[in-house]
């Protein structure tokens, strides 16, 4: 079945070629990073995690959101999603692969990666994160691939995958919950020390992932002979709407607790992000775009006519992807480290090499996504022909 990923139109090869180029550049700069050390990034003693870990955090959400397709299909027998379940699962495969790569490029000593397995440490959340991520990758590969194969042969999926499908459903929120716990249990980091971290992660993930899937479905419809379906896209749109509303609500819950209590350790991070402290506040415009944009998009999406029109829906989904990305991919990690434990401010901004390595990893993800989607779409075209 995989051979289908290797044959295609000129445009298909063009996309692959472009992604390979980005991967090549990213890899080359990564070799530089291995040689010089993580000093080529913008990270510092005070902001010791940056862009890499932020992308990882965002993408875990995208990966987890595949469950938003699989769950209605298998638990509520919502048959319409049978048509796009594979797109959700393959999006998860690509996203988890990126997550794992982002962790690897962030390590100071990647050659010692296996120390995590050689010295298993159950008290470390990172240990569990590694387990759930790899498990999730495997589950999605198994489920996606077997179901697609069955579809191609026009037989029902084999019985043995059923348990895997059912395990994958609770597994999805678990990857994002464990990732939230990476941050939420640390003393002295007021921005992260909140029990609503995991719920917030899930709500933004269940908005961002399906929003991305809507956009991908529209692309698939435009460029291939396979139509994911209007009903499917509309249902995804509703999921995005409720999830982003809940996410905005959670954000304001957080704001209430932090600012009504007036506890400085918790307030100062928000002040840094949304107003700036001691004249430093390079994230301020970003954070305002994120929260105002997110709130407006949420309200916008509630209006049925907006949601029903695929053009405005696409626009709203694009905004959801961008605003949630700013929140997690920029603000969350930096905001947790600034101000530092001495109440002083060291700002962080990714450097150019760091940005190119990041782009390279994203390109790996999109390469995997493109090839897997190519396989899926070819199979769908074939059985309908």
């Amino acid at each position: 079945m995989f051979e289908k990923a290797l044959v295609g139109t000129k445009r298909y090869y063009g996309v692959l070629g472009f992604l390979l180029l980005l991967i090549g550049i990213g890899f080359f700069i990564y070799l530089k990073q291995l040689d010089f050390g993580l000093g080529i990034t913008g990270m510092s003693r005070d902001v010791s995690w940056g862009f890499y870990i932020a992308q990882f955090t965002y993408l875990v959400g995208v990966a987890a959101s595949a469950v938003m397709v699989v769950l209605p299909l298998y638990l509520h027998d919502y048959k319409a999603f049978g048509r796009i379940a594979i797109l959700g699962e393959f999006l998860a495969v690509a996203a988890v692969t990126m997550c794992i790569l982002f962790i690897v490029v962030d390590l100071g000593k990647p050659s010692r990666l296996f120390n995590v397995l050689l010295h298993p440490t159950p008290n470390s959340v990172l240990f569990w994160d590694m387990i759930v991520l790899n498990g999730y990758l495997l589950l999605n590969l198994i489920c996606g691939w077997t179901v697609l194969q069955a579809e191609r042969n026009e037989v029902p999926p084999p019985k043995w995958v059923k348990p895997f499908i059912y395990i994958a459903i609770p597994w999805a929120p678990s990857i994002h919950t464990v990732t939230a716990f990476l941050y939420a249990g640390l003393p002295g980091r007021g921005y992260w020390l909140t029990a609503i971290m995991a719920p917030r992660f899930l709500s933004s993930a269940f908005a961002a992932g399906p929003a991305l899937l809507v956009l991908l479905c529209l692309l698939v419809r435009k460029y291939t002979k396979f139509d994911p379906g209007r009903e499917q896209i509309q249902t995804l749109g509703k999921i995005v709407t409720y999830a982003i509303l809940i996410n905005v609500f959670f954000f304001f819950c957080e704001i209430f607790t932090v600012f009504y209590s007036q506890i400085p350790d918790h307030m100062m991070h928000f002040k840094y992000l949304f107003a700036g402290l001691e004249g430093k506040g390079q994230l301020v415009p970003w954070m305002w775009v994120s929260i105002v944009g997110m709130t407006l998009t949420a309200i916008f999406l509630v209006i049925p006519s907006v949601r029903k029109n695929e053009n405005t829906l696409a626009l709203a989904c694009g905004l959801v992807v961008i605003t949630t990305w700013i929140d997690k991919g920029l603000g969350l990690i930096t905001g947790g480290f600034v101000p530092n434990p001495f109440d002083t401010i060291t700002e962080y901004w990714p450097t150019i090499p760091e940005a190119f390595i990041t782009l390279g990893v994203w390109a790996v993800g999109f390469l995997i996504l493109t090839m897997l989607y190519k396989v899926a779409v070819s199979v769908k075209e074939e059985i309908r022909a």
């Binding site: 003693r45 010295h119 440490t121």
Partner: protein
């Protein structure tokens, strides 16, 4: 051949179980090295629970500086503002980002954020507090480390194994005292006078103060304590007759962020 002390202890433990004894284990692993390394120095300083008291009444600025220099010199801590070869100059911003420090000075409001009070004790605000890893009794850095590269010894010293650390920097996010540094780049071109008896580090690992575990094992006091003219004291918290207990009994002391539950073991007399 060199093996880590921990690996040795583990294998020695097994060998003892099988009736071979520690010596046999060592001969198996590193023949001939035994006499030099194994026999615990009878003069070694030991404690059930190490703690440090910093007497700010005695710690003037020069003394603090002397402590820092002694510590950083013997532990080969790089100084990015002062490279061995002039062509390795680092701009001030990067010096700040890459800084590695085991022992350093900080003003009261930075050392004890949230505890400053505008109209009280002007004297406090002029002081430079000497900060280091607190060798917490309930250390969050140990809790989060996925490889046990950071671990707590029986006697309370929180140790770093630079050969096991994968450089994930989770411990840096977890330490609420900013006590850990990361080797963002190769530190060696920034070590002017290398101490041959203590290892230098390489890129990609975390490091911090280890309460001079290597000196305690030889019966010496930590380097900072030695040069502090009595401003710094280490001792056994579990020994009611120890010097630290005496100081704690006779003086009011404060600790950094005790409300976080990490139970820091560096006490400050102010």
């Amino acid at each position: 051949m060199s093996i880590s002390r921990r690996d040795f202890l583990r294998i020695a433990g097994f060998s003892t179980l099988f009736g071979l004894g520690a010596k046999a284990a060592f001969e198996m692993l590193a023949p001939g090295e035994l006499e030099a390394k194994l026999a615990p120095n009878p003069k070694a300083l030991t404690a059930q629970r190490w703690a440090m008291v910093v007497d700010m009444r005695k710690l003037d600025d020069q003394t603090a500086q002397r402590c820092i220099e002694a510590c950083h010199r013997i532990h080969n801590v790089p100084d990015f503002g002062n490279p061995v070869n002039p062509e390795d100059q680092v701009n001030p911003q990067d010096q700040n980002r890459w800084e590695i420090k085991w022992l350093w000075k900080e003003k009261f409001e930075h050392a004890f954020p949230g505890q400053e009070q505008p109209y009280v004790a002007e004297r406090l605000h002029k002081l430079n507090f000497l900060l280091l890893c607190n060798h917490c009794n309930n250390p969050p850095c140990v809790r989060v480390c996925p490889t046990k590269a950071t671990w707590k010894r029986e006697d309370g010293v929180v140790m770093m194994d630079q050969h096991r650390c994968i450089g994930c920097r989770y411990c840096m996010a977890a330490c609420p005292y900013g006590a850990r540094s990361f080797n963002w780049r190769n530190p060696r071109p920034f070590i002017k006078n290398e101490n041959q008896t203590y290892p230098t580090r390489e890129i990609g690992v975390v490091e911090k103060c280890t309460l001079c575990a290597e000196r305690l094992a030889k019966g010496q006091l930590p380097a900072c304590v030695e040069v502090s003219n009595g401003a710094l004291t280490v001792g056994d918290l579990n020994d009611a007759k120890s010097k630290v207990r005496e100081l704690l009994r006779a003086n009011f002391t404060i600790r950094r962020k005790p409300q976080l539950g990490s139970n820091p073991q560096v006490y400050y007399i102010v």
